[in-house]
Each structure stands twice: as structure tokens, then as C-alpha cells.
Symmetry: C4
Amino acid sequence: MISGLVKEIKQQVADLHAELPRNDLVVWTAGNVSARVPGADLLVIKPSGVSYDEITADRMVVTDLDGNLVEGEHKPSSDTAAHAYVYKHLPHVMGVVHTHSTYATAWSARAEAIPCVLTMIADEFGGEIPVGPFALIGDDSIGRGIVETLRDHRSPAVLMRNHGVFTIGRSARDAVKAAVMCEDVARTVHIACQLGRPVPIAQADIDSLYARYQNVYGQEPAA
Amino acid sequence: MISGLVKEIKQQVADLHAELPRNDLVVWTAGNVSARVPGADLLVIKPSGVSYDEITADRMVVTDLDGNLVEGEHKPSSDTAAHAYVYKHLPHVMGVVHTHSTYATAWSARAEAIPCVLTMIADEFGGEIPVGPFALIGDDSIGRGIVETLRDHRSPAVLMRNHGVFTIGRSARDAVKAAVMCEDVARTVHIACQLGRPVPIAQADIDSLYARYQNVYGQEPAA
Amino acid sequence: MISGLVKEIKQQVADLHAELPRNDLVVWTAGNVSARVPGADLLVIKPSGVSYDEITADRMVVTDLDGNLVEGEHKPSSDTAAHAYVYKHLPHVMGVVHTHSTYATAWSARAEAIPCVLTMIADEFGGEIPVGPFALIGDDSIGRGIVETLRDHRSPAVLMRNHGVFTIGRSARDAVKAAVMCEDVARTVHIACQLGRPVPIAQADIDSLYARYQNVYGQEPAA
Amino acid sequence: MISGLVKEIKQQVADLHAELPRNDLVVWTAGNVSARVPGADLLVIKPSGVSYDEITADRMVVTDLDGNLVEGEHKPSSDTAAHAYVYKHLPHVMGVVHTHSTYATAWSARAEAIPCVLTMIADEFGGEIPVGPFALIGDDSIGRGIVETLRDHRSPAVLMRNHGVFTIGRSARDAVKAAVMCEDVARTVHIACQLGRPVPIAQADIDSLYARYQNVYGQEPAA
């Protein structure tokens, strides 16, 4: 029963990886998407160092929420520990995405949050996109940095200092969407700042845009 | 009779949506194209939150000029009220396009008009590309902002502050062309301004270029 | 006899137009490539306002060297007069290309030549890429501006002020290559200048690179 | 026996050339990939001035480590002498790549090393990406510049002044990867520097990231 569900999620995660190069968020084998397996302490993620052309549902790997391999013939992504930590500590998160997308990573290299100066940022992120700490790979430092930054924040995206972006979502697709939007607004605000200062948006307007977008936008989910 | 016309317009509007990602004007599901149904108080527009891969003529929706759904199985774009307002108040407008294209939106975030420093801007826009007011979605504020800015302006494009671009045209294709050209000149002028100041073009030359382009360029319409 | 040659050139010119969007040099219907018909006072060029998807050899038009239509069902490009003037006054030129490619046009908007600070610029352009005058379309002003700027210059490219780029070549393919290289170096030098000053290359080194490249690079022409 | 091996390497080198335009590292015919033939003083490289569409295994050429043509119907790339010099003087190098990729070349035009301000730079390059000398093509100056700069450096990439990038690898694929990553970080750090100063990464952290990445990342090589 769970194996049928896992198979389906492997397909979704494999398909969603195609959105990363398509939206110019990754080069070479960098970047990864994962999804929580609902009702189990498991996640599905990309294997390490595999190119985007070679990603198939069969090659996806399953780990527990400590990042230990449960199923799959390849080593999991070297970022698995960070994904696993997020699922373990934020129970509502069903999908996680990691990229080094250019403009968002440039903000992270200066440890600067992306200010909320576009209605699209208010809609999707509910305010500025925050910066997380510098953290070395190898233990749970990255995971902790993500969770501590996003726990009390509207934003589904965090700019990890000198590193790149992590996004979360109520589905893996939502996390991918947040990664796409994060790079798009990172680029637009960067370009706006190159020739002067963007006009701020009043906090009340940000709140109003965020509330509407979270409740009204898009089609009803299929019954 | 009108239903045959509506069907044809749905096809045109669906086809024109493909120009938005092709010209890098949109990410994810953002952006939309609409067309007025000639001889009726109706418009055809994209449904809300539908991805560009899934756009077909059948999925397009029809609304009246207050934005109420008249035909279609999906909820209309959340920007429909703005499109409808434009058709209601500018009778010569047959097509409307909305994007958050990067460079144009960056100018809008600083509330700066794009100066007419390229012959291509004189040709297509007849002068600077103006900035419209900040306006919240949800009532007719955005529509009013567009109409009040463009009513007495040669430019078919307006940069809505902290938001994005709306363009209008004598056909939906013309509005798409204006959206493509607007982003192109927004980018070129931005880049020119990064290393100094563009040389201005004399008003008499702008007028002469605009007059020629509106009357001479392109093939005669098919008989 | 000449009609077989003209047919062949129409095919070449149609095929070369595909390089313009492929190399991101044009949007919408902007930009054009022409070729001289050897041994005749004729040129082959793109029709006006036709999109890149619709370009076929059959649709190419033939004009004389005053820009008058000789053969073809469509109106010639509105830039035909400029191309024709170049062929008439520079007998060694066999191909001409016109684009509004972004970075080159940005240099033209500031009326700044692109300095020769890359070996690739020395190779292909033999020195800086010069700026031509501001000129209105409609008479031979643009053609004269191109010819007067390039006549005594190594560079096959000229940045026409507030307008865009014209390139020339010993073949239409060479002119397209020059247009591609011009945008590439315009972009690289722009980016180099954003964070400081490029290191100059000594004139003797420029001369040496140019001489070698013109004589040594590439395969021998097919016998 | 060696001819079977050479045939296989020609195929690999031809295939790897496709990564250069795919990753936007080259325009027109610029750029080249080579591989050493293991156990022989030979290398396989792209012919001169051939477009990326026309590259096939059959068209690749074989030279000795002085750059003299050994096998092939076309003239070798004009950069062959530089590749050959590297193989001759750095015996562990099995692949070499040369590009004029935009952002890396912009750093080279200012003779500025790319600082190690991203974890991805620490991972792949182990520190800053260094600048090599200005060198004219035609003798072994470029090769010497590459070898002298990279011999005592962790970085597999060198920014040759006013020219472009050379990368080396334990395989031709590794050298291509280094070329892709070099342009990616050149762009991200450039953009970070446009609006302020990136936060430095401590040397101990750079060392730790580099050591881990060289030993842990990716799948085990196939047995």
C-alpha cells in the first residue's frame, strides 16, 4: 500500500526536477527537490551527483527523517540531511527545494534580505525574504538554520548565507513554485536597486495582498 | 453566430499566451492576455492559476465587462477586473496584456518612466513609457489607474507602480507586441543607464519617427 | 541564369535570419539580413514586419541598389534603403545585417564606442567598435552614416546612435557572424565595466592579433 | 587497439562540445574541449572554425603534444598549442576546456580573481579563481600562462587576462563541469558585488568544504 504511494511520489519528484533547469534555477547537477511521504516518516529525494537528463522515477531514493537510505540504488543527495531535518521539525511541510539560483544566491552572499517592494512578493512571501545563517554541510546545521529562520515567518523561502536558497511548501509543487518566484523577485528587485531605490509598500497593503492571495488565487483543488 | 466568433477568439487568445513564455515575459502562471469580442460586451481571458503548458482554447473563459463569468469551466484570471475596466472605458482597445516582465517591473518599482532614448521607443511608444499609480487588487483601482494613465498618452504600455506592466492594442496581437517591445526597451535603457547617461532624442525627431512608424511599417492587412 | 543564383541567395538569406533569434539578437519582427546578388545591382532582403517563424526563401524580396522592389510579393524591410546604400558605396560588401541587440544598442544610446579590451575584439574588429551618427529613417541618412563610419575602419560593425547595430561582411554569413560577436563583446565589456576598469591591450598586440586572425583562423574555403 | 580508444574519445569529445552552447558558454564557433589519449602522447580536439551544429566524432582531430596534426581531415583548433602544452606539463590532466564565457571573461578583462564567497566556490575551486597573464596566441605563451598559474593552485580554472577561461580536469567531463561552474559563480559573485560587498568565508571553512566535496560528493565511479 505504502509502496504504491511511494512510487507515485517518486514520479512527482522526478517530474518536478525538470522545472529546475526549465526555470534556469540550476546548473549541472546542483539543486534538488524532495517530498514527504504522507503518513510515514519518509522522504523521497534525488540521488547525489546525477544529471538532470538522467533523472527518472526509478532513480529517486527514499530515506527516513534522519537521512538514512531506506530504498534506492544510489546514494541520496548530499543535501538530504537538511531536507530531513525540515520535515522532522516542521510537520506541515510536505515539500522542500534547494537551489543556488543566481540572483537569490547573490543576495545571500551579501547576507541581505530581499525587501518587499513588489506586489508579487507580498502575495507569495508576505513580506521580505529572510536570510539564514552560514552553516557547514555535514551535520544538522543547515537544517537548523532553515527551521529557525522560517518557523515564525510567512516566507516559504530562506536565503542561506553564502550558499543558496531553500524553499518549503504544503506540497513539493508549492515548494518548487516558491523557488521559481524567489529567483524571479530576487532578480527584479536587484535590477530595480541598480539605478536607485524602490518605493516601499505600506505594511497594511502587504498584509492585505498576502491575505487575499493565500485565500483567493487559483482554481479550487480537484475534488 | 457570436459563438463561432467567440470560439475563434478563444483560439487566438490561447495561441497568443504562448508568446509570453517564449519572449521570457512570465514565470510560472503569472501574466495574461485578453481580447474583446467585437460587437458584444464580452471579453475572452485566461483562467486563474493555470500553467502555460495547460492553456488550450477550450479552457479560455468569457466574462462580461464587469468581469462576471459568462462562459467557461474555470475561474477567470484574478486580473480580469482590470482588463474588463479597460475595455469598458477605452472603446478602441481590442486587446490587453498583463505581465511582471523583469526590467519593466524594475522601472515600476522605482516609479520611474522609461525615457525615450531609442528610435525603437519613439516608433512604438511615441515617447516615454509612463508610470501608473500603486493600486490594490480586488476592486477597480488597477483598471482606473491604467485608463487614467493611458487615456491621453501615445504609449500603449503603462508601468503600474510596484507591480508590473499592462499594455493595450487595436488587437490582442498588438497588445502582445507592445508587451514584448516594452520589456525589450526597458532592458536596453536600463543597461544603457548603468554606465552613464543615454543621449536624449529631440522631441521633433520623436514625433517624426512615431508618425512614420504608425503609418508606414509592416505589410498591408490582408484584404 | 541569374534567377537560379537569386533563388539560391534567397535560401541563404532566409536561413541566416534563423541565426538572429537563435543568438538572441532580435525580438518580434525587428532585425534583418541582406545579401548582394554578385554580378548584378541587386540585393535580397527580408520583407517588412514578417515574423521569424514565417520567413521562407519564397518570401524574400529582391530590390535594386536604390531600394526599389524588383521581385517579391511583399513590401521590402523598412531598412532596405540603408542596406542598398551600403552595397552601392562599398563594393566589397556582400552582406549586411541590422539588429537592435541589447548590449550593443545600450552602448549606442550613450554614443560610446566599445573599447578593444578583449583579444576577441582585436581578432574580429581590429580595434574599438565605433559609433555612427543619429539618423532618421526615410532617406539615405542611415546608409550614409554607416558608410562614412566604416569606410576607413577595420571594424565590420557600427553602433548607430540611439538606434542599433549594422554589420557588413564579405558574405552575408560573415555579416551575421559580426553581429553575433558584436553583441557578445558588447555584453562582456559592459559587465567588465560595471565593477571597475578593464585593463587596456597595447596597440601593437591588437595589430598582431588582428593580422593573425584575418589570415589564419578557420578552415580553407572549399575548393 | 589504440585506434579503438581514439574512436571512443572522439565520440566523448564531440558529445561534450554540446554542453558548451547548452550551458551558454560559447557563441558561434568559439570555445573548445580536448581530451588526452591515455597511454599515448596524443590529444583529441575540435577542428578550427567549425560550428557547433556540425561537430561529429568523425570531424574531431588528433594531434601530438606539440600540437602537430596526427589524424583528421580538418585543421585543429587554433587553441591546440595551449591545450597540448598543458597535457605535456601537467601529467595528471586528462581534459582541457577553453571558453570566452561572459562573466568569467569580464573578471579576466579587469584582471581580478573571483573571490571565494560562496560555498559552491569552496567546494569546486577550493579558494579564489586566479587570473593568468596576458599572452598572445601563436607560440606557447598561453600554455605556459595556464600551467604556471594552475600548477600550485587548487582551482581547476584560470581566467586568462583580457581573453577568457581555461579549465582542466581528471577527465574531459570534469573540465567541462569546471567551465560550467566557473561561469555560474563568476555571474553570481558579479551580481552580489553590484549592490555591495559579499560576506567573506573563513579560510578554515573553505578548507573544510573543499576537503569534503573532493572526497564525498557524487556516486562511486562505476566498477
